[in-house]
Every structure is written in C-alpha cells, then in structure tokens.
C-alpha cells in the first residue's frame, strides 16, 4: 500500500466541522477528500479510490442514509462510517441496515474517530480471509469448518445458535451488528424481533467466553443498537 494512513472521503455539509476534520486528519496522515453533500460524495468516489468514507447522516439533498445505500450498491467493500447525533438510535440502526460499517456519535473525540477510521481502513486493506479459515481474536478461536470454539486452547461447548451468533460477531469484529441482523441470522428472516431471546443468548455466550460476564471484554453492547465483538 502507500505511506499514508489511508485515503478518506469526508462527506459533511457543515463547513466548519469539515474544516476542522480535514485539518486534523490531514496532519494525522490521512489523504483527505471532501464533499459537501451526498451527490458530490458519489461523484468524488468515482474519481479517487478511497479507502473509507466518513458520512454525515443529516445532510440536505439525498441525505446520509440514501448516500450510504447508493455507495454500498456500487462499492460493496468500501468502509462507511456514519457521523450521527446522540439519541438517534433509530437513525443509527437504519444506517447500519443501509450498509454502514460503523457510526461515530457527534460530538466526538478525535482520538475515538481516528481509531475507528484506522480500524476500518485496516480491515479494508487486509487480504480477504477465506470463509473456512479459523478466526482468532484474543484468547478466542473459532473454527467455522469444524464448528469448534476454543478459549485459551480449551474447547468451549456452544449450542448451534450460540455458535452462529458468535461466528457472525467474530467475522465482523469491531463492527456493530444490529439486533435485527443477529435475530435474522439466527432464526431466519421474518421470525420477529425477539430481543429478550437474543439477550439471553448473548448472556449465555458471555458466561462461556468472558472472564467476568458482568464486565465483558469480547462481546460488547452497543446500547439500543446491537452488539459488537472487540476490535482484533
């Protein structure tokens, strides 16, 4: 790859915030492209090979979510990070369902934002791992072929559903998986929104995998959104 931290497109309608982001991220080593709205962003994506998009959710014109949907239709792998506002969980869920990889809540700390961007670019640059390869994250190893999970080298017995949930979370480590997506993956689409069931299932997984189920380090909760496995 190249020397830079990554080529990042910022799609943000607020000029001041864009200026601040550009300055900071530029100094931190990112190659920055800018767009003031979704339509502009889509055009810029055609001109430059970006490695990640930072996309504001509230913008005039087609808006963040529609932009996200259109980007995802063309660039299936390009990481999209949504800039959202607090207490708009519905928006966040909608963005994730429209194909966003992650979200950052305004007002944000630059440290957190850059960490997320770096992680997204790292995932984007990482060579595609074949689906049958084992995944290791911390002390947890998951073997999709043999359907085995080991924790610190010791096999952990999981029910088929627990395994499916864990596999989904671990293959998307670092990214939030919405409740709806987890439920759909576990019970087939159209089964309904059985959050209580999901909560119990995650609770079981934590008991089996975490040192302290009350303070999990692997399976983290994104309040009102879903769960995410820790960044590898």
């Amino acid at each position: 790859m190249d020397d830079s931290q990554g080529r990042l497109l910022i799609v943000e309608d607020d000029t001041a915030l864009r200026r601040s982001l550009r300055t900071t991220l530029d100094v931190l080593g990112f190659d920055i492209g800018e767009a003031a709205n979704g339509e502009d962003g889509l055009i810029r994506l055609r001109m430059v090979d970006y490695e990640a998009v930072l996309l504001d959710i509230n913008m005039p014109g087609i808006g963040g979510i529609e932009t996200c949907r259109r980007i995802r239709r063309i660039y299936t792998k390009l990481p999209i990070l949504m800039l959202t506002v607090r207490d708009s969980e519905d928006d966040k869920v909608e963005a994730l369902e429209a194909g966003a990889d992650d979200y950052v809540t305004k007002p944000f700390q630059t440290r957190e934002l850059t960490a997320r961007i770096r992680a997204a670019i790292r995932r984007f640059r990482a060579p595609e791992t074949p689906a049958e390869m084992s995944i290791t994250n911390g002390a947890i190893t998951l073997d999709p072929v043999r359907r085995l999970v080991e924790r610190a080298g010791i096999e952990v017995h999981l029910t088929p559903r627990e395994f499916d949930a864990l596999q989904l979370l671990m293959t998307h480590a670092g990214r939030p998986i919405t409740h709806a997506r987890l439920i759909a993956a576990l019970r087939g689409p159209g089964f309904g929104n059985d959050r209580a069931y999901l909560r119990v299932l995650i609770g079981q997984l934590r008991k089996k995998l975490e040192d302290d189920a009350a303070n999990p380090i692997y399976i983290l909760t994104d309040s009102y959104i879903g769960y995410r496995f820790r960044e590898p």
Binding site: A16, T24, R86, E89, P107, Q109, T114, N215, Y224
Partner: protein, 484 residues
C-alpha cells in the same frame, strides 16, 4: 321606619273619626232604615280593614256601633240603650265587624307578603343572572356591590374579600369598614331590622371567604333576612368564581411562559449543537495531532473539557424537549435487573465523580417491566443529580425494592437537605431550589425528565430528605407480573 309607620296609622284613625258619624247622620237624615245603616257601616268597616288594616277597622267598628246606637236605638240621640236586645245586637255588630275586618286585613297582608316575596325572588333571580354576566376582567367585588345596590335599591353595600384583603363599596351611604371586617373575623350574622342593616359572613361550604354589609332604606324595605342570606350565598359564589377564573388564567399564563421558555431554550440548543461539535472536534484534534507544551496543552484541554460540558447540557435540553413534545411511547420490556445494574456500573459509575456507587437489590422478582431506554434515562438523571449534590466523596446508593404493587428504585446520597416546601417543586421543569445555583451546575431539567418518564409508565417520583442524614429520590413503577 317604625315611627313613620305609627304616624301613618294614627292619621288614618283620625281620618275615620269624623267619617263614620257623618255617614250615619246622612243615612238617618235621608230616612234610611236601621238595617241599611248597619249594613253600610259593616261594608265600610271591611273596606277600611282591607285598605288600611285591623286597627283602623276596629276603631271604625266601635265608632259605627256608637253612631247606630245614637241615631237608631231608642232613646234616640243618646248613647244610652234601654232594651237589652239592642245591647245584644250592638255586641253582634261589633263581633261581626271585627271578625270581617280581621279576615279582610289578613287577606290583604297575605297578598302583600306574596307580592313582596315575588319581588324579592325576582330580584334574587336578576342578581344571580347578572352575577353570571359579570365582566371577569374587571374587579368582581366592585361590580358585585354596584349590582346589589342597584337591584335592591339599598343605601349602602360593602363586600370584604378576605383572600384579596379588598373592600368594595357601593351606594350613597358611608360604610363602616371596621364593622364589615369584624363581621368576617367574628363570623357574624346580624339582622338589624330597626335600622335595616344586615351583615353576613360569606361562606363557601363552611369556609369563610369574606363578609357582606347591606344597609337598606328604612321607608321602603325590600330586604328581609332570608333575601340577605341568598344575596350572601350568591356573592360568595361570585367571588369564588372570580378567584378560580383568575387562578385558571394564572395557570394558563404560567404554562404559556414555560412553553415559551422551552421553545427559546430548545431553539438555542439546536443552534448550539453544530458549532459545539465543531469546537470539540477541533479541540480534541488539536490535542491529538500535536505535541503541545504546557500552557498550550492546558488551554486546549480546557477548551475541550468545557465544550464537552456544554455539549452535554445542550444534549440534555434537547432530550427533554423531545420528551415534552411527543406523547411518550412506552415500549414495555422485561428488563433483568442484573443487566440493568451492569449498565449502571458501566455508564453511570464513571460519571459520578468521586462518589462510589453501591447497588442494592432487595427485590424478589429480579426483573422489571419498563421501557429500557426511558428507565435508564430516568435513573441516570437521578444518579447524576445525586452526584451533584452529595457530600464530597460520599457513596451513592441505588436500591431496588418491591412492594405489593410497585417496583421502587431509590437513589440515596448523603447531605443535600431538601426543605419540605421544595419537594414537589424540584420536579418542575427549570425549577432550581434557591441556593442550588451556586452549589452545582444544572439546568433544572433532569428531575423533570425523571418525573415525566415515571408518569409515562403510570409510576411516580418523590423525594425524602432529612436534614441530619441523607436525601433519597424514589422512582416507583407498577409491578407487572405476567403469569405463564
């Protein structure tokens, strides 16, 4: 009044004295028979009784007997009667005349009484109708006294409104203020019929609300104690109506002003949000990218911290605005308490500054039915509030208990006594108890959020505080048990 009455009767009696002998003399001279004379006299007595009253009729009947005796009973032209039969007929005449006079008088009195009752009823009816039409934008007391003075043609009316400490007067005569107030303070009910003065304490139910004083003209009295009672009740009702109207419009005004404040504040918060996000992005970016030395680093951190704080406040304002605007939809879920506690250990504990968080579960259910997000929001507000006002480094306790019907969360902290009169008000939006402005930062919103959320769950919030030890905020939700 009594005096003129007596004079009137006296004059009428004197008028009768020459009339009866003259009439008899005329009949005698025109050769009228004794029977004719007697019957004419009888008719006269009845007319007098009907017109003037019993006393005059009695005088007339005695005179008539004397005249008949004088002109017709032998020996004529003398009051002496020889024949005992004449004595009897004279006696009968007097009896008949007096009885007839008495009845005539009674019929007349009855008619008069009916008439006066009808008049006073009519007046009371008019008064009550006019009271309903009083202009509530003007002083009701003043209008009421004028109305009574005009309708009942009295000389002086005064109404003392005890709640407003206000005296209103109407009529041409002076009113002794002290007497009116004394009527209220001593709860008097006075009927002075001689000077035609009435005093009443105005009551609503048994509660005295003021006093009324009415002084009528002595010659033409339309007032009797019962009418005055009725006027007093009507006045009490009118005053009460005015008060409740005023209270209602005050409440309405207060509501409007709160709405206005909310609108202004929400507007500002919205306007602040974006620049604040930029400031924070810039300040945290500055700290992130450069190896700043002491003064610059310190100042950049300061900007960052304060921008964060402002952003938090702004967010809180917007959050409550949202709660206020929409009908809160409560999405009931079965929340496991251990998960809830985990959330608080993770989310709340770090924000409580130096205060250790203790969580005590004293329930038998280990779950609660509520809207997860709203419940967390409400309890976070209570914890945040506790951390702001607790004595330094003292622990904060979140305890959950169950009663027969409720799941009760309480957040207890040491210190921060809340006076009894403050305990309801602190849950009002924007209310901040006197002195708290200097003690802790806040907008006076957090507790109103907790209250709103509790109410949306048909629950309640309250506070207990004792000056010695601690302050505890309670949030109770209905205990829902779904039996399988």
């Amino acid at each position: 009044m009594k005096c003129t009455h007596v004079t009137k009767h006296l004059l009428q009696t004197i008028a009768i004295v020459p009339v009866v002998p003259l009439l008899t003399a005329v009949i005698y001279l025109s050769h009228g028979k004794a029977l004719t004379a007697g019957l004419i006299e009888l008719v006269l007595v009845m007319l007098i009784a009907f017109r003037w009253g019993f006393l005059e009729a009695a005088v007339a009947s005695v005179l008539a007997v004397a005249c008949l005796d004088y002109f017709y009973m032998p020996p004529i032209f003398s009051l002496y009667e020889r024949d005992p039969q004449d004595w009897i007929s004279s006696g009968i005449f007097v009896t008949v005349a007096l009885t007839a006079g008495h009845f005539a008088d009674r019929i007349k009195r009855k008619a008069l009484q009916t008439e006066s009752e009808r008049t006073s009823l009519e007046r009371l009816y008019l008064t009550s109708r006019d009271i309903l039409m009083l202009d509530r934008r003007e002083e009701v007391g003043a209008q009421l006294t004028r109305l009574i003075a005009d309708t009942f043609h009295v000389d002086a009316v005064a109404i003392w409104d005890a709640r407003e400490m206000r005296m209103d007067k109407a009529g041409k005569d002076a009113v002794p203020d002290d007497e009116v107030r004394a009527t209220y303070f001593h709860e008097l009910s006075v009927n002075d019929l001689v000077s035609c003065k009435f005093k009443r304490v105005l009551r609503l139910g048994i509660r005295p609300v003021g006093a009324i004083y009415i002084a009528g003209p002595s010659h033409e009295s339309h007032l009797d104690p019962r009418s005055v009672d009725a006027i007093a009740s009507l006045s009490a009702i009118a005053l009460e109506r005015a008060h409740s109207f005023a209270a209602e419009s005050n409440a309405e005004a207060a509501k409007r002003s709160e709405q206005l404040r909310s609108t202004v504040l929400d507007g500002l918060a919205h306007a602040f949000k974006t620049p604040l996000a930029t400031i924070q992005s810039a300040s945290s970016g500055l700290l992130e990218i450069s190896r700043l030395e002491y003064p610059a680093r310190e100042l950049a951190s300061l900007i960052d911290e304060q921008a964060t704080r402002l952003a938090k406040l702004t967010n809180q304002v917007l959050q409550t605005a949202e709660l206020d605007q929409r009908q809160l939809e409560v999405d009931h879920e079965r929340i496991r308490l251990d998960q809830l506690f985990r959330f608080f250990r993770a989310e709340a504990a770090p924000t409580l500054m130096d205060h250790p968080l203790r969580i005590v579960d004293e329930t038998s259910d280990n779950y609660v039915w509520a809207d997860t997000r709203l419940l967390e929001m409400a309890l976070l507000q209570l914890l945040d509030n506790a951390s702001k006002y607790a004595s330094p480094r003292s622990p904060i306790t979140l305890r959950v208990t169950t009663t027969g019907t409720e799941v009760v969360f309480n957040v207890q902290n040491e210190g921060s006594f809340i006076a009894p009169e403050e305990r309801l008000r602190i849950f009002q939006r924007f209310y901040r108890s006197p002195g708290s402005q200097h003690k802790a930062p806040g907008t006076g919103i957090g507790l109103s959020v907790a209250k709103r959320i509790a109410e949306a769950h048909t629950g309640r919030v309250w506070v207990e505080s004792d000056s010695e030890a601690s302050t505890t905020f309670f949030l109770a939700l209905p205990r829902i048990r779904l039996e399988a």
